[in-house]
Symmetry: none
Subunit: 417 residues, 2 copies
Amino acid sequence: MRAEIIAVGSELLTPDHCDTNSLLITEKMNEAGFAVYLKSVVGDRSDDIAALLRAALDRSAFVLICGGLGPTEDDLTRRAVAEALGRPLSISAPLLENLRALFARRGYPMRPINERQAEVIEGAQVLENSVGTAPGLWLEERGVQIVLLPGPPRELSPMLENHVLPRALELGAGRHLVKRSFRILGMTESEVDSRIAPIYTQYPQVDTTILASRGYIGIRMHQWVRQGEQAGAIEELSGRIDLTLGSAVFTRTDQPLEEVIGRLLRESGRTLAVAESCTAGMIGSAITRVPGSSDYFLGGVLCYSNDVKERLCGVPGDLLRRHGAVSVEVAEALANGVRLVAGSSTGLSVTGIAGPGGGSPEKPVGLVYVGLADGSRVAHLRRVLPGDRALIRERASYAALAFLYQHMVAETGGGRT
Amino acid sequence: MRAEIIAVGSELLTPDHCDTNSLLITEKMNEAGFAVYLKSVVGDRSDDIAALLRAALDRSAFVLICGGLGPTEDDLTRRAVAEALGRPLSISAPLLENLRALFARRGYPMRPINERQAEVIEGAQVLENSVGTAPGLWLEERGVQIVLLPGPPRELSPMLENHVLPRALELGAGRHLVKRSFRILGMTESEVDSRIAPIYTQYPQVDTTILASRGYIGIRMHQWVRQGEQAGAIEELSGRIDLTLGSAVFTRTDQPLEEVIGRLLRESGRTLAVAESCTAGMIGSAITRVPGSSDYFLGGVLCYSNDVKERLCGVPGDLLRRHGAVSVEVAEALANGVRLVAGSSTGLSVTGIAGPGGGSPEKPVGLVYVGLADGSRVAHLRRVLPGDRALIRERASYAALAFLYQHMVAETGGGRT
């Protein structure tokens, strides 16, 4: 059963914007057993959208159209689809009621153009939007499933999960995709590949991909399995890879590193505080993405200036003058200092030169020190990170989180999920 | 003259890979005066590629096909195009010679499958590949230009620049694209639309798009202008929109808000420190994305726990107990407190309930206070932000940056770029 995706939005036809929504949609369609064999991007023009839909009806079993469901003049998807199918469009009273209530709750004025988002194509079922104002629509035409989805990823994602995936599964492609994945710290992409290629090449029925991702190396495996059959190959393969890579694997469930760290902190009864110089909040904001992180994260200091390093983290001015802000000594003093001022059991620090200015032959742009203090010992990590300012800051944050993870795993002996 | 792009590659139909080559191609086609109105992604299947090309011949003046020119079994573009056009494919002796010389120079053995890259479709002109082994091809069929391009960006990019752009310019679309854009704070997408729709609908020759983006509303305008003509309409339209929206426009050059804020801080000789509770570093990391931000950003405190609010920002424990951490009083005390401990002229604070837990009827999830202190006065902003934890934190950061911007603009009287 072949599915195709149509992304609507003139901005997606400029040199500045990619269609990334189709990645989310593809993931969910694959889970339901449908392969995506064609994707299109079309602008905010009624005729183009309608022509594309008419062509799609002749070739696909499933057509997912994403974007153009907003309230403004250039949101044309509902009208174009209604026109292509020759079906009328009318305001749904219950949807209008919902919209009014939503605007009232948020305290925004509801304007006449907003009423468009209550328009429904004849014969369509409404897919609830739990996050925004644009509901989705699901239609059938000559046996082809047509789904209209909102463009903002935050609205799209829950609608896919809660409304599209269950219905697509019911439609029954008769097979499903079995996936396994690992995330790995402390190895490069080619190191991972040379370790596991001798294994995964023995399982041609499993599609194995190694991807350098932000802060880790990912291994993704998938295998199409017919109803009633076992996914024996992928189970065996993932078991063997797991054994080979050992504690370098920090998750087998796509759990972000900050969640794994949170669990380790919670389980060991520790609390954390951070002192961030060049990352200036990137570590704190990552750690606190996890709900309930206030149980183990106390806070920290953005010690951007030397003055703040002294005043708020208790780093002796003399140490700063002798070794410079970017040094082993200051990284360790920051980690221990923030631990003491915040009253946490563990302190984590980063100090480095993110560039583009501020580098020297002895201390080049990209030089970063991570410090770690837990009351019984103080440790550090030195790295010279490649990339531009944004990349160096990002990599410095990941290096600090990885250092903390490895420290805790070494102490507690593991904890993968 | 309408151009369309077809990207070929099964990996572009997985959840892990986007087609980004079309961005490069779009940029060059726009330079040559062609609008890209449709993009497709298709897998490595001959039938699908051929069907798509046949459809394209009926609707476009220019068809650019990218990828699938390699030597392996799944590189099918040359064959599929030859089949769709009913033209024979044959080995070009000079190309084969070139290939052999290239392999010899690199010291790689040339295998029989490599000879495929010397295949040329009847009537095609060869586009030299200065970097890799796959030459491009340029054909004309029933007045439609068809261009076959290699997939690897490092091969694609010079071929676009050196061979496609000059020929496309010669074909003489005789026009170019003029762009203008605004970014706006403090209004919703539909508020912006109802303010400016009466204006932009008077300029049908300008394509105007309103987009809710992260932390702001964007307006993008573009107009195709013929050689020798003036871009009068877009100049007039953007001038009128600018007047209408006034200081709600924080940039006319796509400058990020943190850069605009940085410029205003620098110009007014101020320094900034932040106290972040629920955002826990998101504001600090945004401000410091800007190179040279150490000139005006001193640092701050991640005051996640109440204890850290007291210890490091000097908020009286009594105030916290009486009003709670999420209150006007504590927001203002944090802003002023961090200003004093960090020694900055301005202090900015955020305290709120990001959820999912911790809400109550009086203080629901999403309640956020922003505090601002500049030595002469203390101000605050109260918001109940919709969304999940991630969205509330993101919106709280944007609200704080917007509040700071508006405060500075009100004081200094503008500063747009």
